[in-house]
């Protein structure tokens, strides 16, 4: 149901839109500009998640309770999160980047990597590639109507980590390139805060007196593995420049999406779970699902007053049983319930695993799903060729006058558009 073959790229451009959700809110509500505003966390509505510049100047910081924040800044506007909206906007960003290069790997909301291997003839050197990405965002991104696309920080480097370090050092509109020859020297000077490891490990490293990546790289790898396990090993390899994580193009599944509009707003957990259960049952009965087990689920709820709730579930064991999908959903509802009454529920099955042989035998349209997968792969390949060479180079043969005695009149080539 999805193509497992993915494109990878060693060289990467990191596109980082810091505080992306808050920026989305500013685009949606221009009246917030200039004022002090914060977003509360989608998982804990008592705590501040994102802080605007004016609020930061007043002393408000991430992780603070809302009451503390209001105490520091009485004019503070506290916004409920709308993760569905942010996700939609970020999808537009990814689509804009995909027009530049098809190898895109989003890592978190507001941060994505663009694989740039083999584009020298198309965009030139690193500077040209960075310009192409910035132009792509400006022309096609969701923020194109505002000047905010300039807020993107862009960094170029070998491997995702180096690109991320470059983006973190960049200013909006002024990208940073870390060339291979400067890489070790640049990374050695970076603080350990740039390492993609757990906060607790960061804290312990700092207590041990390690402040830069050079300090970490000077230690033997075995010592870090002994202290911190696999994460310690990863931290050492990254700090020592031994690990280059390539950009891995995302697999774009064709999700099964079902929506349920509730006749009255519902806040009661039991009723919500019952509604989710109905949706999951209906989605499992979808013809395209037959013969496949579900690996990833996204549940969305549109709430009263324009807010939303969203959760992504990756199932440990792919399943076709509704109970095994609803149980983790119930746990998420308990951990972080929606902040208001839901008016619409949406369930999406976003990743699939082949079912058992018996299930496959009964998969009425498994073959058509496979055909659809091939068609998607063809479309992606054709798009890649068009992007790389700026003109279609794939054609197919069409009959024109197959009966003609003149050979050149019988068939013709036409651009292939799968």
């Amino acid at each position: 149901m999805q193509d497992e073959r993915v494109l990878t790229s060693d060289r990467a451009i990191c596109v980082w839109l810091a505080s992306f959700p808050l920026r989305c809110e500013h685009v949606r509500r221009p009246e917030l500009r200039g004022g002090a505003a914060v977003l509360v966390s989608p998982t804990d509505t008592r705590r501040v998640w994102q802080v605007g510049a004016a609020a930061r100047r007043a002393g408000v910081s991430v992780g603070m309770t809302v009451s503390q924040a209001i105490g520091l800044c009485p004019s503070l506007t506290v916004l409920e999160p709308d993760p569905v909206y942010y996700d939609e906007q970020f999808t537009h960003v990814l689509e804009a980047l995909e027009r530049v290069r098809p190898v895109i790997e989003p890592t978190s909301i507001g941060c994505a990597y663009v694989g740039v291997d083999g584009v020298e003839r198309l965009y030139g050197d690193a500077d040209g590639q960075l310009r192409a990405v910035a132009d792509g965002l400006a022309r096609h991104g969701p923020l194109a109507s505002t000047a905010w696309h300039a807020a993107a920080r862009l960094g170029w480097g070998r491997g995702k980590f180096t690109a991320w370090v470059a983006a973190a050092r960049a200013r909006p509109g002024t990208p940073v390139t870390i060339a291979d020859r400067d890489r070790d020297r640049m990374l050695a000077r970076q603080p350990i805060a740039v390492l993609p490891i757990d906060v607790a490990i960061h804290r312990r490293l700092r207590r041990l007196g390690l402040t830069t990546l050079a300090d970490v790289a000077r230690l033997p790898e075995s010592a870090l593995v002994a202290q911190f396990g696999a994460a310690g090993g990863t931290a050492w390899r990254i700090a020592a420049g031994k690990q280059h994580d390539p950009v891995t193009g995302r697999v774009r599944p064709e999700p099964i999406v079902l929506t349920l509009r509730l006749p009255v707003p519902v806040a009661d957990r039991t009723m919500l779970l019952h509604a989710w259960r109905m949706l999951v049952d209906r989605a499992l009965g979808h013809p395209r699902r037959r013969g496949w087990r579900i690996r990833a689920v996204r549940a969305r709820a549109h709430l009263e007053h324009g807010a939303s709730w969203l959760t992504d579930l990756t199932l440990k064991d792919p399943t076709a049983a509704a109970d095994h999908i609803v149980a983790p959903l119930a746990a998420r509802l308990d951990q972080s319930p929606p902040t208001g009454a839901a008016v619409e529920l949406v369930i999406e099955f976003t990743a699939f695993a082949p079912g058992t042989e018996e299930l496959q035998l009964f998969a009425a349209n498994a073959a058509s799903a496979a055909r659809a997968g091939r068609q998607r792969a063809l479309r992606a390949a054709a798009q890649e060729i068009r992007t790389r060479f700026r003109r279609p180079l794939l054609h197919h043969v069409v009959e024109v006058q197959p009966w003609s005695r003149l050979p050149e009149r019988r068939y013709a080539l036409i651009d292939y558009e799968p």
Binding site: V400, L406, P407, E408, R410, L413, D415
Partner: protein, 96 residues
């Protein structure tokens, strides 16, 4: 009259397949090709044998087409089909 809902066929994007390629052909006194140069390559290739010869006349009601096709074998064993445009005397290579 209701216009067809289908997207118009972009005939400007069609490219004919198997178009004749101009060739410089040298013939003997009986009009049979003995050697040829293909495209931009000035190297003459000797023709070993003539396999078959036929004539094609078509479209006499608008732009008449008159061709003399000759299937030949080159000295390196390669088969080629040539034709002489009987209206202007030019030679071409084409797969029939």
């Amino acid at each position: 009259m209701v216009p067809p809902a289908r997207a118009p066929i972009r005939t400007d994007r069609l490219r004919a397949l198997n178009e004749p390629v101009r060739a410089a052909v040298e013939c003997d006194d009986r009009g049979r090709p003995v050697q040829l140069c293909l495209g931009d390559d000035p190297t003459p290739r000797a023709i070993a044998t003539l396999v078959e010869e036929w004539r094609l006349d078509d479209e006499w009601w608008r732009d008449p087409v008159a061709r003399r096709y000759v299937e030949v074998v080159l000295c390196n064993g390669k088969h080629l089909v040539l034709f002489e445009d009987l209206l202007d005397g030019a030679w071409y290579v084409q797969t029939p």
